[in-house]
Amino acid sequence: MSQTRREQLAAKFREFLAPENVVDQPTSLNAYESDGLSAYRQQPLLVLLPEDIEQVQQVMRVCHEQRLPVVSRGAGTSLSGGALPHAEGVVLSLAKMNRILKVDHLSRLAVVEAGVRNLAISEAVQSLGLYYAPDPSSQIACSIGGNVAENAGGVHCLKYGLTLHNILALKLVSSEGEIFEIDQRSLQADGYDLLPLLVGSEGMLGIVVEVTVKLLPIPRCARVVMGVFDSVEKAGDSVASIIAEGIIPAGIEMMDNPAIRAAEDFVHADYPVEAEAILICELDGTEEEVSSQIELVEKVLKKGGATETRLARDEAERLLFWSGRKAAFPAVGRISPDYYCIDGTIPRKALSAVLTGVRELSEEYGLRVANVFHAGDGNLHPLILYDANNEGELEKTEELGSKILQLCIHHGGTITGEHGVGVEKLGEMCVQFSETEREQFHAIRECFDPLKLLNPGKAIPTLARCAEFNAMHVHDGKLQFPELDRF
């Protein structure tokens, strides 16, 4: 793309955007080259920062007329390259649209602009005794618009749901610059229920500009118990036993030995470094519910073979138990120059088989892997430790990651639980979905965006891309896992 074209377009956008809201200098554009998945980088043509819905519409009208690809971006914390720029397109940043427009206490909802940070919502309504439940680990930084685009999760999903379950209405701007709204405050969708299509659509169906979120009462009480295990299998079975008791924990997390060691070295939470696995189980609700259930959980853990159980005595200890888990990613970052986070989901019963498979792959590739696991909902995050400065190690890491995801599919799971497909998992999409299924996705996209200007090249692979991926991954004339049951 020539510099003249860049200048011409910048001038066009400056007709209605403040000059500083049109970023066209290469040095400033660098800040937008990548998102949370920094292995992928691309400088965009321009970055635009509209300040209100009207400006978003104007931007979209120009992009539509000029056939410019548009990559929308919230806080840029995507772990799958969802906000990776397009070389010949603009990045539409919602960062300046960060106002909380309305809080309705009686209806327990908040209307916020797309750029509002996830945690800022809970902070704004805390004095009312309310909060916004989904808590992705990046919640201090990530925006609600990005959460909608990715259907973000967090550690409390099993009980409180994903982003989808906590959204009441959306306002979007279409690829043609028109506003369209989905309003389900009345708990009803007229005609087709488009909310689940739009939530998690990775910026390919419309630009989310305003979000109405559901607010929940802050639980009166939260308590945590930790179970220490000498095998991951026992830990996994204990999760099933807790659920079989009819208990839905607010959060239940597992860490394997390498993850425990890394976390302990970092935060000194007194984690048992010899353990093969720990489970951290949090219950919340009223005092009465929690105290009756926590005892039961402790019993189940012991019966399930826990060598030790620890009940957090107070709030400080509860936070200490959590600190290691919450710091797991940076902790792994300390013991390795680089790490790559994988995001598969599996039926819980396959945990042991999948972890064995991951260990074998780890040995085969000569790369260490630490595992943290949202054990309640089956969402596994293997962290592959590597050094990008070693020639070819990133490629090897990506290949190992891809193998792990295919292992998840093989065991009845999926290639992404909460991070999205982005650019990262396009190849694995070819394994998880058949050609006609992928065609259906493309057809849906064209209903919303006939010119395919919104986040092109993400989330849904083209036929050609899959042909290429399959050619690379057929060994000895056989596809990996030919008996694959894809559901």
Binding site: S107, S186, D190, K349, G413
Partner: protein, 355 residues
């Protein structure tokens, strides 16, 4: 493990659809027929899918059941109950023969909807037969899954217009240890609406609410201790459970000789109906009228506050059943319909013209 018939007629259904598609025909997809009243009437070749039955996978510890769409809802609920589990959305049957496919396609939920979520919130994956005669699967059998657009949840409430639902995976929840119904007096709809919404700001274990003619009912669900404590704090009088009758529209309020209208409003919306007798549930989000009403007037009222009005049952044939869509939204939804069913063979016009 269970008495649910295990019969796979996917191949027969596929060839039937392919031949209908080839001859330019139209079909009406029929399961148990219990919700056939719901939606615009249509004349097309009936295709019975209720024979496609069987549990594909159910491991209670995974909190997920995968089953063929022809399974009878009542039999599946009995199976779940054996394992102390249930569907969180408390689906109405409206008849003994109600099927899982009809439940998903109809998208109707019961008293627990406002507190636990709707069917859409629990569906995890589907296998469908589309208008090309292709069998496609979307979503999966795991709770967290963001691979591809979420087509499985789009099926909920689509009334069979996007394809034949063959299989579905649904998240289930543990049954509650204790349930208790409490009664309170509120002499106006507004007092009930305000009260129930204010209660929502506190973490009470509420799982259903209703109001008819000055009497509010509240259901509490949870651990014995939790429910007991809440009941003490909230007051009211213990009452008989009538939630099944409410769900199945078998209360006296539902007069079988009268048209039934469903009004969906943001829950805290103040009363819009005055003296017209109404049943309010879902914390205020769902309000029923049994009797003659002025549908256009109700619709314009509802639009003003972000709601919609369905001529649910027994209305005159010339009254549109579903709340009309704005033109641009109707156009978008028609294009989505065409992307699954380009020739328009499935349940043509069930929801809106062209949908």
């Amino acid at each position: 493990m269970n008495s649910i018939d295990d019969v796979d007629i996917e191949a027969e259904l596929t060839s039937q659809i392919i031949s209908v598609a080839a001859t330019g025909g139209e079909i009406e997809i029929i399961g148990g027929g219990s919700k056939r009243f719901y939606g615009e009437s249509l004349e097309a070749l009936p295709v019975d899918v209720s024979g496609h039955s069987g549990i594909i996978d159910y491991d209670p510890a995974e909190l997920v059941i995968t089953l063929r769409a022809g399974c009878k809802l009542s039999e599946v609920e009995a199976l779940l109950a054996e394992h102390r589990q249930m569907f969180g959305f408390e689906p109405p049957c409206y008849g003994r023969d109600a099927t899982i496919g009809g439940m998903v396609a109809g998208g109707l939920a019961g008293p627990r909807r406002a507190f636990a979520g709707g069917i859409r919130d629990f569906v995890l994956g589907v296998k469908i037969l589309d208008g090309h005669g292709e069998v496609n699967q979307f979503g999966g059998r795991v709770i967290k899954n963001v691979a591809g657009f979420d087509v499985s949840r789009l099926m909920v409430g689509s009334l069979g217009t996007l394809g034949v639902i063959l299989e579905v995976s649904i998240r289930v929840i543990p049954s509650y240890e204790t349930e208790l119904t409490l009664a309170f007096e509120h002499d106006s709809a507004d007092k009930h609406i305000r009260w129930i919404n204010e209660l929502g700001s506190e973490p009470w274990p509420i799982s259903a609410s209703s109001w008819i003619a000055g009497r509010s009912l509240l259901r509490l669900s949870g651990s014995a201790q939790g429910v007991q404590y809440a009941a003490q704090q909230l007051g009211g009088e213990t009452a008989d459970s009538c939630w099944d009758e409410l769900k199945e529209q078998a209360l006296d309020f539902f007069d079988d000789a009268q048209p039934l209208t469903r009004i969906s409003l943001p829950p805290a919306t103040t009363d819009q109906l005055g003296d017209i007798p109404q049943l309010i549930e879902w914390g205020g989000a769902q309000r029923w009228i049994c009797g003659e009403v002025n549908i256009p007037a109700l619709r314009s009222m509802a639009e003003g506050v972000g709601g919609s009005v369905y001529a649910f049952r027994r209305h005159a044939a010339d009254v549109a059943v579903f709340h009309p869509l704005p033109p641009a939204m109707l156009k978008l939804q028609r294009s989505i319909k065409s992307s699954f069913d380009p020739a328009g063979i499935f349940n043509p016009g069930r929801i809106y013209p062209g949908l």
